[in-house]
Every structure is written in C-alpha cells, then in structure tokens.
C-alpha cells in the first residue's frame, strides 16, 4: 500500500537540478513538465481553433455574405478542423499520457525522455507554419481538413506546400510520441504490473499508439503525393496523367478512419477511470473493455470506404463496408454497457469530472447512433456532405473527445497542482457547456436532414432560423470555455489543499504519491500487490 516516493534532494540524475525560467521548459526531459506543456499547448490551440469556429458561426448567423469572403470562410473551416484534430485533441491526449502513464504503471519517467522533449518542441513550429500560411498571398489551405484532390492539387493556393510541411511535422511529432508511449508501457511497468492489471487509460493509450504508428506515416505519404502532384508534375491523383482522384480518398481514409479512433480510444480510458471512482465500485467488465478496445482498433482498418459511398462503388463493396462499420457498434455497446453497469447500485457522487464523464456517455452515444445512420449506405446518399455529418462528428469529437479531456483535467488537476479546483465554478462550467453544446450541435441534425450542405458560407433562406439558433449556441459554448480557463488559473494559483488520494473512491498508483505529484516519482518501483 505504501508507495515509495523518493524526494529529489538525494537523486543524482542530471535533470534533478532543473534550470529556471524558459530553459527549464526548453531543455526539460521530465514527463510531467512535457505533459504540462502539451496540455497548455492544446488549450491554446483549442481557443485558436475555437476563434475560427466563431468566425464560421458569425458568418452563418444570417443567410447571405456578411463578414468574410467565401475563400476566407473556406480557410476557416479547413484550419479549424486541422487545428482541433492535430493541435487540440491529439496533443491534449499526448499530454495526459505523458503525465499519467508513468505514474499509473509505476515508472520513473517516459522511456525515451529526450525524444519526448523533441516530439513536443517541434509541434509549435508545425502550427506556426500552418497559421502563417493564412497570411500568404492567395491565403492558406481552403480545401477542407480532408484536402481532397484535386481541390488540394489543381485548385489550391500557392501556400499548400506550407500546409504539407506542417502536416509532416505534426505526423513526426505524433509518431515519436506514440513510440515513446509503447516503449514506456512495454519496458517500464513496475514489477507485478501485469498486462491485465494495467489501468484502462494505459491500455487504451497503448492501442492508440499502435494505431498512430500504423496510420500517421500513411498520412505523411498522402500529403507528400499532394505536394509532388502540385509542384513536381507527378500524377498520383490527376486523371490526365493516368492517376485517379478517388485513389486520394482511399489513401486518406485509410489513415482517416483509424485517426478518429485515435481521438476517441484514450477518451474511453479516461471515462473508465472516472466512473469507478465516483461510483465507488470497481470497473465492471475490465477484460471485456480491453478486448472491446482492441477489436474497435482492428475494425477501424476495415471501414474506411464508408466515407466514400457516393464515389460510386459496387454493391458488394458498399455492403462490406456497411456491415463492418455496423459491427463496430458491438464493442462500443459493450463499453457503454460496462460504464452503466459500473454505476449500477454504486454510491455515486456528482463532482465535475463525473458530470463530464456522464455527459460523455450520453452524448457520445448520440454521436454513435448518428454514425450508425450514416453507415447505412442507401441513407448515406441523403446525409453525405450535409450538416448531419457535421452534427455527427461534433457529437463524437466535442461532447466525446473534448468532454473527456475536460473531465480528465478536472479529475487529475488536484494531483497536478496540489489544490482542489473551485467546485462551484466547475459546475457552472459544466452546465453552461452542456446546454450550449446541445443548442449548438443538435439542430445541425435537422438542417442536415433537410439538405443544408456543409462547408458553405451561404445557405437557402429556409435554414435561417435554425442557423441563428445554432450560432447563438456556438457563441455561448465558446464563452463557457472561458470559465474553464478561470477554473484552471485559480486552481494553479491556490485553493484548498488536496490529499494524496484526492477522491474518496480513487484507486491506482497515481493516487499513492503526494499532491502535487513530486518532480520525480517512483524512482524506486512500487510493489504491486
């Protein structure tokens, strides 16, 4: 039970003596410092991407063109997507992995600390390049985050090379981060921490890391093909030269579908950590959770063409991808069932992390259901490229991935800062977010079913009222996140002292070290009973 925590006074490792000021952060190889940097970076990107969403919603508040040019609107939708996916959600998960995985498995640090420093510090430059491209003559990328050829080759602006290089850097960063996670989990588990004793957050991240290694290089390949098609005269996607634009979509979605699970599997791990704590019961069906996560990851490689039903494919192909997609609902259903069963007859309390986790379970399931609707090939022809799709992926990514990240931040904040956050402000944050996010995304289902296309700066008059409503929800959701920043700043500066265990029902190695977690933890591996 008693954890062995060495104080850093009598530690002889070099980074024990940490430099002060900016150099501490530039040179750090400490997993907690790097985790913090990832999380702060993700938060900044969340607000930059969010500001772009506000531009989009302001323009769509009324039909007609009010604030921005169509070309700039397209740049906003594109860069909003890229920043939220690669700049906010993925780095936030990597930050949580850095902070929590070594503490959860009883390791002193990540296995490859110098690579860890490198994989973080190239990331700001990737986004600097991407954001700078917006100020180039002709503007930044405006072809959607999916950069379909020929939009990104024949018809793209001159700054496309900057987009390509920034995606390369993001990819290298993610791959290095994923290698680090895998090596850490394989080699640095404390004695006695067997595979099936690992916390689910560690399990889901391990599987995510394998997905990253499998598909991020494919993304790097496809952007390279776009680069050479545009600038060096190749014809991977140009029919005139013997290529095929549909090939682009196959390669992109071969990356793209596992990518969406990269953004949700760690969220499953977070919710599987939070729900047992606040239900004060062990997680129901631990082993089935592990197998469900693995099967979701495997299936993710067999469903990519469900993004492409309207490109024209034979019935056999459409059926194959439709059934494989629907099959994913089974392991996902196992997970939702297990969370609900964990809560069954539990002694539940409803602190902010639990509220966000509960909202995750309900709202992510709604997103899952609209996903099932989209998986039905004949129906997809109506939904394709409409706001219904926008509603679907925002339910799984905002009320799914982002809510889980917020839940994780509230859950582990006392461990990071040593202070309890302001519960009352946190509840305000939760309720404002919950109401506004549904005002924002739920009506999108209806305008989508009625035929409003996505990525369009103007729309038919009959969608006007719904869009005004959606925009108001959007502004409120954006404003609600300012409360989150307030809570974070307040908690970092002070507050009620947190105990080591923090939450009454919390179990796991990370709750055995003091709060705030010392700079070095588990220099001597803990004993797992």
């Amino acid at each position: 039970m008693s954890a062995v925590v060495t104080d850093h006074e009598h530690d002889h490792e070099h980074h024990d003596h940490k430099p002060s000021g900016i150099k501490r952060w530039l040179y750090t190889t400490n997993h907690k410092d790097i985790g913090t940097m990832y999380l702060v970076f993700a938060l900044i990107m969340f607000f930059i991407g969010g500001a772009m969403a506000m531009v989009i919603r302001a323009e769509l508040f009324q039909p007609g063109m009010q604030f921005v040019e169509p070309n700039f609107f397209n740049q906003m939708t594109t860069v909003h997507g890229l920043i939220m996916v690669f700049g906010a959600v993925m780095p936030a998960f990597t930050g949580l992995a850095n902070w929590m995985i070594p503490m959860m498995i009883g390791a002193p640090d990540m296995a490859l600390p110098r690579m860890n420093n490198w994989s973080f510090w190239i990331l700001p430059f990737a986004f600097l390049i991407l954001l700078m491209s917006l100020f180039m003559p002709g503007g930044g990328p405006s072809f959607g985050w999916t950069f379909y050829a020929p939009l990104s080759t024949t018809y793209s602006s001159d700054s496309t090379a900057l987009f390509v290089f920034s995606v390369h850097i993001m990819g290298i960063s993610s791959i290095m981060g994923a290698i680090n996670v895998i090596v850490t989990i394989f080699n640095l588990r404390a004695p006695g921490m067997t595979w099936m004793k690992m916390p689910l957050f560690v399990w889901t991240w391990l599987i995510t890391a394998f997905l990253l290694i499998m598909v991020m290089p494919v993304l790097a390949g496809v952007v390279t093909m776009v680069l050479t098609d545009k600038y060096f005269g190749t014809s991977f996607f140009d029919a005139a030269g013997g290529g095929d634009p549909v090939l682009f979509q196959h390669i992109f979605w071969f990356f793209g579908h596992p990518e969406v699970y990269i953004m949700i599997l760690p969220a499953f791990g977070i919710v599987s950590a939070i729900v047992p704590t606040f239900a004060r019961k062990p997680l129901f069906g631990y082993a089935s959770m592990v197998y469900a996560t693995s099967s979701i990851a495997l299936l993710s490689f067999l469903v990519w063409a469900h993004h492409m039903f309207t490109t024209g494919m034979p019935v056999a192909g459409a059926l194959f991808f439709m059934y494989c997609t629907m099959l994913i609902a089974v392991p996902t259903g196992v997970k939702v069932f297990n969370w609900v069963a964990t809560m069954w007859r539990g002694a539940m309390t409803f602190e902010v992390p639990m509220m966000f986790a509960l909202a995750f379970i309900v709202l992510f399931t709604i997103g899952g259901f609209s996903g099932l609707m989209l998986a039905i090939t004949p129906a997809d022809f109506q939904y394709h490229d409409t706001y219904f799709v926008v509603a679907h992926f925002h339910y799984v990514l905002v009320t799914g991935a982002v809510f889980s990240i917020i839940a994780a931040a509230y859950y582990w904040l006392p461990k990071w800062t040593g202070h309890m956050y302001d519960e009352k402000l946190g509840q305000w944050h939760f309720w404002c977010s919950l109401i506004s996010v549904n005002l924002l995304f739920f009506p999108m289902h209806f305008v989508g079913l009625a035929g409003m296309p996505r990525r369009i700066p103007d729309y038919a008059l009959q969608f006007a009222d719904f869009n005004a409503f959606i925009s108001i929800g959007g502004f409120l959701f954006g404003a609600s996140q300012l409360i989150f920043v307030w809570v974070l700043v307040k908690c970092a500066r002070g507050g009620e002292k947190a105990t080591a265990q923090v939450w009454e029902g919390a179990e796991g190695l990370e709750w055995q070290v003091p709060s705030p977690a010392p700079y070095h933890t588990f220099d001597t591996p803990p004993v797992i009973k």
């Binding site: 296995a111 490859l112 791959i175 994923a178 290698i179 895998i182 090596v183 394989f186 080699n187 290694i213 499998m214 598909v215 991020m216 290089p217 494919v218 993304l219 790097a220 390949g221 496809v222 093909m225 005269g233 991977f236 029919a239 005139a240 030269g241 013997g242 095929d244 549909v246 090939l247 196959h250 390669i251 071969f254 990356f255 024209g312 494919m313 034979p314 192909g317």
Partner: protein, 186 residues
C-alpha cells in the same frame, strides 16, 4: 537504461517507415485491384488482340458514347454518333471528332471510363486514340478512331454500356518531357 529500450524503439521506427512505404504501395495496389476487378470502370490501357471470339448474334448490347473536354481543355471533342447497337464479338469502329479552335498547338490525352464499372473488363479496345497523346495544331481538326468489340462473355445483366472519355490538356507536361528527352542528346 537506454540500451534496454533500443530494440523495441528500432522495431517501432521501422514499422513507421514501412507504413510510409505502404502508403505509396497503395498506388500500384489500387491499380492492380481495379484492373483485376474492373471496379473503377477502368479499361485496359493497352490494345486487345484483334482476333475476336465468335460473334454472339443472339443478343444485342447498346453502347453509349460520351465525350467531353476537361474544363481547361479548349478543344471541341465529340463522337460521331452518341449510341450504337452491337452484337458481342463484332468489331466496330467509332470516330471521334476533335477540333482545336485556338491559335496554338495543343496536346490532348483522353482518359476512358466505363459505366457500369464491372462491364469494363468486357470492353476491349483494339485501337484507340486514348492509348497515346494526340497533337493538334491551332485551327485544325481531325478524326480520332476507336476500334473495339464487346466480349461475348459479358454477363447478361448488362444490356447497355456507357463509354465516357474526358480529354485533358497535357501540353505543358508534353513540352517538359520532350525538353528533357532532347537535352541528353545534345
């Protein structure tokens, strides 16, 4: 410490590099897959043999011809007739009219697509202007022949086959490649 991690790190890095290669390998794999199955409506890029199988007079297939120049391509480009009824196995010739209304020489490349896609495997071209790039001086016109037959093995559910050509302006690529090919000789 680091030595212990090296074998696994190297394996994972090699996996990542291999997947980068796999992304590019998808390009030929895609072509092979489409050639084998005809899923994409792609017809063979080379000539079929002229020794056609016996003619199946018991049924007829309607061939529809669609031709359009790409948006950047200023040529006029159209088939002589828009549809033709043939017996499977019969060899036919279809002429396409091309006219270059501009004042400069333009090189065109036609890219075929067959719909329904599965029928592409049974549509054989003995001679086609799409096998090579076509040059046309400004203000001139020409007839571009296509010699084809439908395989008698065509499954009976296909009674109509649509052959579509899109014509692309490849003058720039043609000049680049001819510039490259003349340089080493000098």
């Amino acid at each position: 410490m680091a030595l212990r991690h090296k074998p696994l790190t190297v394996k994972l890095a090699v996996t990542a590099l291999a997947m980068f290669g796999f992304g590019f390998a998808l390009v030929p794999l895609y072509d092979v897959f489409c050639d084998l199955t005809g899923l994409n409506g792609k017809t063979a890029a080379t000539a079929a043999s002229a020794e056609a199988a016996m003619i199946d007079t018991s049924r007829q297939v309607v061939i529809e011809f669609v031709a359009r120049p790409n948006k950047q391509m200023p040529w006029v480009f159209k088939p002589e007739v828009s549809r033709m009824t043939v017996h499977p196995g019969e060899i036919h010739i279809m002429n396409y009219l091309a006219e270059n209304p501009t004042g400069r020489m333009i090189v065109g490349q036609a890219v075929p697509s067959v719909s329904p896609g599965q029928a592409a495997l049974y549509f054989h071209k003995i001679e086609c202007f799409c096998f090579t790039q076509q040059q046309l001086a400004g203000g001139k016109n020409m007839l571009m022949p296509l010699q084809f037959y439908v395989d008698p093995a065509l499954p009976s559910q296909f009674s109509t086959i649509t052959l579509s050509y899109t014509l692309y302006d490849v003058t720039n690529a043609w000049q680049d490649s001819s510039a490259v090919s003349t340089q080493p000789g000098e």
